[in-house]
């Protein structure tokens, strides 16, 4: 554990924190003996997947919860004893930003200024500064509920900053926000640190954001895994990360092979190569793993925080908790044909005067993995719902497997599988009951139905928890169960709406592995995500912004569009930001 003996003058000092909750008759250990400190004047990141205990920790620090054991001090005050003093000093932004959606931007600011006791004389200067910083100056009369996700996030931040606090705590401020807004938020945070010496504690589930913090506290399942600078955290995997390229192999097949090779801890598609983390500093033996690939090359790669995190997690996970990985071989030949199975022309969806989806056209071929990328509210889910026949379009045409699912009969619906956002399952039913229900809903009865349920229990390693209530499952298990239900009837087309949001990196890897296998069997897969790096797994993708498709193509094509001399090898996120900024400039010029 990090040194609990604490540097003097820490902005926040947690000592042996424990916190348990009772949820549905079960005891959940949200935090287990967590000790760390937040140094003043820097950004400290609290990093971990959903359910790691980040929010509990934030609430303990804000005096909203009382620890079962241990103590937490903020700016030298014991939070348990002096909650009001702590709350009168810190700035805090809860998840979902804590805004009143039926109040305007100005009214929200006024409210928090009143509550924080900002004197009326000091307000107008402070408002000017905050509104300009957040880029909200033109929108002071707009209702907070009518702002985009990124603007809400910045307004929430402005409200937390209305009285310049010495310690700023932000609970998952970047969730579901587009990359441009994320960058803007980070700019504001850095400015607070530089200009005012503010200490910042920020929680996030995005592992890449760790790299932006000066210090990182890593949480998983209520345990503190590690604490340090991103550099020191990366240290254990230094020299163990490699980039493998094999031009004559499809990258998903390459990734699948490498993932199962001896000594490989992690294999991840990244651009045109596969990133590999090894158990030690010997590179993967390409001769043994990829005998048929003649052009395979391996190069050392710089370590990333995510590599270290996966390494830490793998070390903790028991092998029998993960589903079997000797799944069907991803074939070397792509299963794609030229047969178009999903076709969308000038699709539109209007809600009142607001266009949620406007002039969207694309085509997906059989066996292809097609991704829709964009921030929350970009129109991805609306497009999906129209494709699945859940929402009538206001204009344009769409065909899925040759039919419009809205009018087509039950047979057409039997050919698709659908996994919605939030892993919608019947929460108070057990895993087995959910499987049984969906198999019956798809008309699988008797021996065939029983076979499929057995298949799902085994394939997704759900058998040990078959009788657990599904609401109490971890997000990773919910995701597996949800996918199992969608695959019950062996559909030819699979719709996946935000299938990986909030789950830990291991579950995400396992998920994409399976998607690769399915695509290899000829299943057409359509997927939405707001994780830019997941775009790499897609054969083709479309980026959506404000209801429209900004660009479409293979991941390499899209990144190529953003290539500049200063940025020879842009990531998908770089490309996204670049394209949006170019788009905005165009819109301004027009």
């Amino acid at each position: 554990m990090a040194d609990a003996s604490s540097p003097r003058g820490a902005a926040l000092q947690a000592t042996s924190l424990c916190k348990r909750f009772r949820a549905g008759g079960r005891e959940v250990q949200a935090l287990r003996d967590v000790s760390f400190s937040v140094k003043p004047g820097i950004v400290t990141g609290l990093i971990g997947p959903d359910g790691a205990g980040k929010t509990t920790l934030m609430r303990l620090a804000a005096g909203l919860l009382m620890p079962d054991q241990g103590r937490i001090e903020v700016l030298g005050m014991d939070v348990a004893r002096q909650p009001l003093q702590v709350q009168g000093t810190i700035g805090y932004m809860p998840q979902r930003f804590g805004l009143y959606e039926d109040l305007t931007v100005q009214e929200n600011l006024d409210l928090y200024a009143d509550l924080q006791g900002v004197s009326p004389a000091a307000r107008s200067d402070r408002y000017d500064e905050l509104l300009h910083m957040a880029g909200l100056a033109p929108f002071t009369d707009r209702l907070a509920g009518k702002l985009s996700g990124g603007m809400k996030q910045k307004l929430g931040l402005a409200c937390a900053l209305v009285r310049q606090p010495p310690l700023l705590m932000l609970d998952e401020p970047t969730v579901g926000v587009d990359p441009v807004s994320r960058r803007e938020l980070w700019d504001i945070v850095y400015r607070m640190v530089e200009q005012h010496g503010t200490s910042v504690l920020l929680s996030t589930a995005y592992l890449d954001e760790a790299e932006r913090c000066s210090e990182v506290v890593v949480l998983h399942d209520g345990d503190l895994l590690d604490q340090g600078t991103p550099d020191t955290l990366r240290e254990p995997v230094r020299g163990r990360t490699f980039a493998v390229t094999a031009a004559d192999l499809p990258k998903r097949a390459l990734q699948a092979r490498l993932a199962r090779a001896d000594g490989v801890i992690d294999a991840l598609v990244q651009g045109d190569h596969v990133r590999v983390v090894m158990e030690d500093d010997t590179p993967p033996d390409l001769e043994a793993v990829l005998p048929e690939a003649k052009q395979a090359r391996v190069e050392p790669a710089p370590p990333r925080f995510e590599d270290a995190f996966v390494d830490l997690l793998k070390a903790r996970t028991q092998p029998d908790e993960t589903p079997r990985s000797d799944a069907a071989e991803v074939p070397l030949e792509p299963a794609q044909s030229d047969h178009v199975v999903i076709e969308v022309q000038d699709l539109q969806r209007r809600f009142g005067s607001f266009y949620a989806v406007r002039n969207v056209s694309f085509a997906v071929k059989e066996g292809e993995v097609f991704g829709l990328l964009g921030a929350n509210g970009a129109g991805k889910s609306t497009t999906f719902r129209m494709l699945c026949g859940l929402l009538p379009p206001s204009g344009g045409t769409l065909r899925v497997a040759g039919a419009d699912l809205r009018t087509a009969g039950a047979e057409a619906r039997a050919r698709i599988g659908y996994m919605s956002q939030k892993f919608s399952l019947y929460g108070n039913l057990s895993v087995a009951e959910n499987l049984r229900f969906f198999s019956s809903a798809y008309g699988l009865f008797g021996r065939h139905g029983a076979q499929r349920i057995d298949w799902a229990l085994e394939e997704f390693a759900l058998a040990p928890i078959a009788n657990s209530v599904s609401a109490g499952l971890s997000l990773g298990y919910k995701q597996r169960l949800s996918l199992a239900c969608a695959l019950m009837h062996e559909p030819g087309i699979l719709f996946l709406d935000e299938p990986t949001s909030g789950v830990d990196p291991l579950a995400r890897r396992e998920f994409w592995q399976r998607i690769g296998e399915l695509a290899g069997q000829g299943v057409t897969i359509m997927v939405t995500t707001h994780f830019m790096e997941e775009a790499e797994y897609c054969d083709r993708l479309a980026i959506m912004v404000a209801g429209e498709i900004l660009t479409e193509g293979t991941p390499a094509d899209i990144k190529a569009q953003a290539q500049t001399p200063e940025m020879p090898e842009p990531t998908m996120e770089d490309a996204f930001v670049e394209l949006i900024q170019a788009h905005d400039k165009e819109a301004e010029a027009a």
Binding site: L390, S424, Y426, N428, F437, C485, F495
Partner: protein, 372 residues
């Protein structure tokens, strides 16, 4: 065809599991009906007991004493004070210590004995006019009896005609007999509406309804799968309350159970239909609940449950024709107390069926057309 049935059966099974495993819905199914059955069974009564009254007897004669004794002997009245001057009347009534003052004038016995009509004055608190009306009627009955006894004993001439009253179906005129069969309808409506009005809304809120709609199940199958649990729970609930009404509260069941259950089924058809309609319109459980509440309140008030429809203005009476409760109450009270045969109830039965079918059809249409 069998696969259709099995799909519906699977959906029904799921609905039951989801409903009975959830602590909140179990609570909603059990606690409010129980409380209401008890409260209505015991509290809702128009029968007066122990009405506090004061006696202002200015007459020392024995006739006055007899009358006072008759009052005191009635279980409907409790004497709380004896007054000695008229100034005491107003404060007593004003402060609600007594609901009534019975004033026997100083010449009461003398008048009686001399064959003149002796006046007896009652002063009643009219703040609750229904109670006041009943109090006056109760006193009148006591006075009538006194008159008859007096005439018999003294051989004075009686009026040439007297009224001989018989109450059919409820000889002791117990208002509990009137309310309890109504409660069968009230609670069945309440529970069925809560079960069905939340069933689609809950799935919409949790996102599982989308999941359901992309399966090969047709809207009609979903509708049936969602409606049947409402039916079954409604029948169980109705049967329990009927049993409690008969065995615990001792209300007679004169008519045939078969007729009663035909009524229950048709009423459930309309209640389930309305519930599913509300549910398909609602996006959140919140809205579903509010919708159910705002349907239920007028449906109960304008059903004849507590006050007769005949007393309502014409326009509102026409409005009640759309209210399934109205018909069901006639069936319930008819079968329970009057033993009304089936054919006399047909005019009550078909409107419930019609309302139910229209509501169910609308709900099925809304499943697919109300989606955002």
């Amino acid at each position: 065809m069998t696969s259709v049935f099995r799909r519906i059966l699977a959906l029904m099974g799921k609905e039951f599991l989801a409903l009975l495993k959830d602590r909140r819905s179990r609570f909603v199914l059990i606690v409010p009906p129980l409380i209401q059955l008890l409260v209505f069974g015991y509290a809702a009564t128009f029968d007066l007991k122990n009405v506090p009254y004061a006696l202002f007897n200015e007459d020392a004669g024995y006739a006055a004493r007899d009358l006072a004794a008759a009052l005191r002997g009635s279980p409907s009245f409790t004497e709380v004070a004896q007054l000695s001057h008229s100034g005491e009347i107003a404060p007593l009534i004003n402060s609600k210590e007594a609901l009534m003052v019975v004033r026997i004038g100083p010449r009461f016995s003398a008048d009686l004995l001399s064959g003149r009509t002796a006046p007896l004055q009652v002063i009643v608190d009219g703040r609750n006019s229904n109670t006041a009306l009943l109090v006056v009627n109760y006193v009148r009955a006591i006075v009538d009896q006194f008159n008859r006894d007096w005439a018999e004993a003294h051989g004075t001439r009686l009026p040439p005609a007297y009224i001989e009253t018989r109450a059919w179906f409820n000889p002791n005129l117990e208002s509990r007999w009137f309310f309890l069969p109504g409660i069968v309808g009230l609670l069945t409506l309440l529970v069925t509406l809560l079960v069905t009005s939340l069933s689609v809304a809950r799935e919409r809120e949790q996102g599982t309804f989308d999941q359901l709609l992309v399966t090969p199940m047709r809207p009609v199958e979903i509708l049936i799968g969602k409606a049947l649990p409402g039916f079954i729970i409604g029948i169980v609930e109705a049967s329990l309350i009927v049993a409690a009404t008969v065995f615990w509260f001792g209300v007679p069941l004169m008519g045939s159970l078969l007729t009663l259950y035909v009524g229950v089924l048709l009423f459930l058809l309309s209640a389930v239909g309305v519930g599913l309609m509300i549910s398909s319109l609602a996006v959140t459980q919140q809205q579903g609940m509010l919708g159910a509440f705002f349907f239920m309140v007028p449906a109960i008030i304008l059903s004849g449950f507590a006050t007769p429809i005949a007393n309502m203005p014409w326009l509102i009476q026409q409005l009640t024709l759309l209210n399934p409760m109205r018909y069901f109450l006639v069936v319930l009270r008819g079968v329970f107390l009057e033993g009304t045969p089936f054919q006399l109830l047909i005019p009550q039965l078909w409107p419930m069926a019609a309302i139910g079918l229209v509501a169910l059809a609308t709900a099925a249409w809304l499943f697919r057309h109300r989606m955002y």
